[in-house]
Symmetry: C2
Subunit: 243 residues, 2 copies
């Protein structure tokens, strides 16, 4: 490394720096389909379009902290499963200036999803129609509650497609499905979440057996109430000790 390289590497003011933002995919299950919460842009660029909620990363704020702050501020929400998704850094992704966006995936229970809508009425719950064929991260269609097809701002459609792909990939070896369910849930609810994310229907006995064999589920002995038929047992998710 010669002296010029060294100075370039060491002196931060020698470089013009990009801005760094976080964008959140606030994802839940509504009416048997994945759904995402969007905000309407009221400023240029892309004024009037729907976008993922986001915000700039503070100079003294970690990426995770920035994502948690946006979750609080934009969705009025304290707790949710939050994981980093991917970092989008194309030069022209924002016409204003260079912005690198670290995308996060937030998983909301149905209750949390509705609570966010109540706390922030400007949020739009959009249904996600992810073609089953789009295994490669292919296009994801978004429909507003009145069935209108939405075009997202910036590269947010790519972010959403990445989120769906990640979710599908992690579904059966991680605990993401449980982040979309309340503390106590039935096996049918668990299967509904899987089917919503995968976009397919699953064989019920096989699904039951596989889930129970994983050893992640703890039967509570309690049962759901209010059903007009045999009530299902309630389970809760219990993390594995060692593996």
């Amino acid at each position: 490394m010669n002296e010029t390289d060294f100075l370039k590497d060491y002196d931060p003011s020698a470089f013009q720096r990009p801005s760094v933002a976080v964008d959140l995919v606030l994802l839940g299950i509504r009416a048997g389909r994945p759904a995402v919460l969007l905000v309407k842009r009221d400023q240029l660029p892309h004024a009037g379009r729907w976008a993922l909620p986001g915000g700039f990363v503070g100079i003294d704020e970690s990426l995770d902290a920035a994502a948690a702050r946006v979750l609080r501020e934009k969705a009025g929400m304290g707790e949710a499963h939050l994981e980093q998704l991917y970092t989008f850094g194309a030069v022209e992704r924002d016409p204003r200036m260079r912005i690198i966006s670290v995308a996060y995936l937030a998983l909301l229970t149905e209750q949390a999803f509705d609570a966010a809508l109540g706390a922030k009425p400007a949020l739009l719950p959009a249904a996600i129609h992810a073609a089953r064929a789009g295994e490669t991260g292919g296009p994801v269609d978004m429909l507003s509650p009145d069935g209108e097809k939405l075009t997202l701002a910036f590269d947010h459609a790519d972010i959403l497609a990445t989120a769906m792909l990640r979710l599908r990939g992690k579904l059966d070896y991680s605990d993401v499905a449980f982040a979309l369910l309340p503390e106590f849930f039935t096996l049918r609810q668990l299967q509904d979440v899987h089917e919503a994310i995968l976009g397919t229907s699953l064989n019920k006995p096989a699904f039951r057996r596989r889930q129970l064999d994983k050893g992640w589920l703890m039967a509570t002995g309690a049962y759901e109430s209010g059903a007009a038929f045999r009530p299902a047992e309630l389970y809760r998710f219990q993390r594995l000790m060692a593996d």
Copy 2:
């Protein structure tokens, strides 16, 4: 106000911005073990420690382009499998200033690995001893060629652990293993790569059948030469058309 006017009025200096860098995990297989190429830091902080090669992201350079540039400049290498790994953004990860690092995983064939060492003799090939138990991204030990245990600079040990975890996770459903092999290879070489990454030995007939059943391998009809025993057939990787 149209978009052009907006851009004129926009003040990009309103926020104090972090620096953004890319760090590369240059990974290959050497002597049946995963190995990584490191650079020695000659300046504070962490002077004298080994680190992943990296560099700052230019203001007109995409993240992928920055990673490719670092691959060229620091490893003297044009071509390699390069994929984004994770973005590390803890506030105190670099004591000089706020630096957000987008980590990339570069997979090198044995030939490319040796070529990098030849082109940049300052690089250190360090053997990775990733405890099989460390499924959760646990600690990864690094040994210099003379068997000395290395402590990496900054949070680079975390980055490396993330890389190994990602590699293991993707091994049997993606094509990463082939990025570590030359164009033509035997089934034994493919198995050696898998065993090196997983840190376990695999059953040979079962491995063969599974790999061939995937339909990713094209038999060439050619055979290896120079072996003092029955020569193995050479295969090449062929991507699936549709799925």
